[in-house]
Subunit: 306 residues, 4 copies
């Protein structure tokens, strides 16, 4: 395993077409594109890593997996009155389908859906409290109390909030958000700003590898059915309108973020976190996707074979 | 296993809300909705079955899995110039996205995509030859030479071809079909009219269970990577705009048909064919989906857990 | 003429199906639906009126005609870089087409377009100054210094701003708005809250009857070509996705508002203002449209005949 | 008037950017783009012409005005159950809105709408009979028995029917067409192939100038209200998604065809036919539109002023 990761890191270092760093959030635009990290956590407690696996990056939309988990914990199936669970076939920030479907987002992983989820878990509380809850959960599953928000990134996103503000006000106009739009957005942007390394992220994903139990800590986070269902949502919707491509090439449930990270789950085998800041035209990490494709070719890990 | 199937069949016999038999193809509208069959084929060569598992039904869109396999065999990755591989988020017969994407269908499992695939595999030949090839392939993977077209169903579909004719002419107007529209449609409707039982269908699916090898016959049908990729397409797009729901509830790659059948693949474990003619509002078998949900709860089979 | 108006007012008083008062702005929902007014101003300086022609009502979207006129005066044809001039075929508050067209609204009479126009005429000034300019213009063309904003209505709209806020943030995310979204919306809602009577409104429309000259005051407001072009925009886009219907039934350029008013221009003949608060399902005054249909049948006024 | 037309023809002869001749119908692609004709018929029986005003061209979609008139004559308001009367905001051959509106075309001037109209006027008869009726009507209003179909053009269109076949089958799948699709299309393509000169076309339009009476022949063709309403439809929908632009620049009801002709009506004043085969990107005659813009600037003819 370590050998495979070393090879991948070496290969990625040679790549010249590294994609384009997200530039609509100025704070992210500063990140050096010549970085690449990969880490694999396995249920037996081992951790393998290569490249910049200890560098912190903004997890951005990967955080949607964690708030979905929290949301299902707090609301159970009632969460699905707030958001659907079908792939949308549209870009991450599309508003069109919202109009067709009376403001109900297609799934919890497009921006509109994630905003609806964070509104649902606020339950009348202030952003601060909800953010405390989210951070506590992420620290718990990653077994690491050093994980924090990057307030500069959050502030930078708030300053460039227009597209997400449009989505939020649109949903609010259909009565789909209960809280003040700016409070919901503030919470959402902070959730996205959480900074983690590949190592931390791989460990945080472990509970989805083992039917809900984090074998690193030995603690059951959620029940087995819910774990499977979160994985199914990552598979179907985790890469926006590139989800089909990811399933085709990588064959594992995964969730990407515009910070350049991708968390990928191989049930029963391991949790893989990759990171490289350059994105493809859909908004997924270019080298991250490539590295994962190499990884599954080497390991044969795939939910579609055995 | 046999016990589980018996229980499911008993449970399904008690169901009163059985959905609505497809009525836009008159020949299918005659089918008695009070039928239900299930069959499971495992790589060790065993076959389990319950209910009307030997009754022939029209496989309809399940045939798209087989023509996709043929298409990948004949054209390789060049097939993807004809059709995409993303879920569409739209109903099976939608034409809208075609307009946005210059006549290129989103994936091979919506009607437009399957029509594009059959056009691609015709390669200048007459419908008769292409249909011979398709039937031969299905008989080969099911190891059963009695499998045939139901010409009455095909003729009935040709008489009510308008929606599919619209899709085909639309693609043709963008230069996306090479052959005469009526010949392509004739081939497509015959492909859909193939009549199979649950037992036959379960056996035909075996090659997707074992990385491309049909363990019943011991023959490698396709290579392992292609097998995984066909499964990924079934997972992402196999149930139209109900694909997310199926992944969430059943957690296995599957492909449904408006004849009421569903073929489902559990990699490494088995191939499950269910059939019940009543459909839900999306066009998937109502009892079929329900039976599969019971089945995975009992067996724990899921690609998203282990 | 007076006789025709009296008859129409009598007829309208008998109507039982009066439509539904706009309820998404609470302040408007309080208006008594049993009101109807009509006024006709002619270039020779005469004024005819019947019913509640002196009652003030919220002109709402009719104000878009006035800000368009101001915008063309300040920016000339450069205004058309901010907004198009095609009918959209969509409801007044639709956001879909914005996504297809990179945030550029189809025309100045849908909400998004009117918001873009007000942003364009602000030119770096504060809402207060822009609003002063708008009010001054309306008082000037109506020759009536008593015309004012209804601050309660404006405040009520600001409290229910979400749909329009969504449109504004969406355009802003494409760089299409220069000013702060809340300032633009504040200006827009005040512009919509202007309260006028049928008499005042009919007089304000006179400059569009006579190729840009208000014959009541004898002052040229705009040149003849611009007057014709504003009329053409009212004809094509003045009633949202009911514009074709209005052209078919009434045959004159007109602009409706959800306050229940409609301003209609018969070039060379007169300016007609009607008002009745109950709306049809598209958001146009139900009795207002009906009264205008009666009016043109009696008078033969139509731009499509002679 | 003659002087104005001479000037326009001279100006147009100097134009170097003449647009692109329609190439999707091979028979039309052969037409020499260096042609331009204009003719004006007035109610007092006068005819003015300049340029290639006697050259025959394919009237194409201008024929939709004539079949609409026939359709309203045969079915009255019942025609509006087959087709709507709102501008669509979409290109002439768009299929999207059909999907949203269950196969009912937005208006009689987009292709789908014109196909629905021809289906409606067939009333169980064969294409031959319907075509006889259409030709008889056109000869009658133009007072010219030499007008004929161009069978070569019709055959060429039938060979490249796919986009229109797609529209027709789509509507048929919703039960919106009563007749065989190929018969409807055959009739439609022949109707579009009618060959006329500017002179003939200007005379044919006269009945819409004078409230339904053709003053050349002194015969009432339709009643005044219907004449106004056909003009309103030409205004709102006569140039597809360029209708707003035409209303803005020309200010008169008009209908264009991809053969390069435009028929324009100035109520009470005259009927103007222009022709030049090069098209703009929307499919309207480039020089034709330009010539009309010059014409209205010189004459002041506009329905939006007086």
């Amino acid at each position: 395993m370590q050998h495979i990761l070393n090879n991948i890191a070496k290969e990625m270092a040679r790549e010249t077409e590294r994609g384009k760093v997200a530039d609509y959030i100025p704070q992210l635009a500063h990140v050096d594109p010549n970085q690449f990290g990969i880490a694999v956590a396995t249920p037996d407690g081992k951790m393998y890593a290569a490249g910049d696996a200890d560098t912190l990056f903004s997890i951005q939309s990967i955080s949607k997996v964690f708030t979905l988990t929290i949301g299902l914990g707090k609301l159970g199936d009632a969460l699905w009155t707030h958001v659907g669970r079908e792939p949308s076939g549209d870009p991450f920030n599309s508003i069109m389908m919202l109009e067709h479907e009376s403001g109900r987002p297609r799934n919890p992983f497009i921006n509109a859906g994630a905003i609806a989820v964070v509104d649902a878990i606020m339950m009348g509380h202030e952003p601060k409290e909800t953010l405390g809850e989210i951070l506590q959960f992420v620290r718990f599953i990653a077994d690491d109390d050093t994980i924090s928000f990057d307030h500069k990134v959050a502030a930078s996103e708030m300053q460039h909030k227009d597209r997400n503000a449009s989505l939020a006000h649109f949903m609010k106009s259909f009565g789909r958000l209960k809280h003040d739009v700016d409070k919901v957005l503030g919470t959402y942007f902070h959730q996205c700003s959480i900074a983690m390394s590949c190592r931390q992220l791989a460990r945080a994903g472990l509970f989805l590898v083992s039917n809900g139990v984090n074998h690193h800590t030995g603690v059951r986070v959620i029940n087995a059915q819910r774990s499977r269902r979160i994985n199914s949502l990552m598979m179907m919707c985790g890469h926006y309108d590139g989800s089909g491509e990811f399933a085709y090439r990588v064959g594992l449930p995964g969730k990407s973020g515009v910070g350049g990270g991708i968390l990928t789950i191989a049930p029963g085998k391991g949790s893989i976190a990759v990171w490289s800041p350059g994105l493809d035209h859909i908004g997924n990490s270019r080298l991250g996707s490539k590295a994962l494709e190499m990884f599954v070719q080497e390991t044969g890990w795939s939910v579609f074979g055995h």
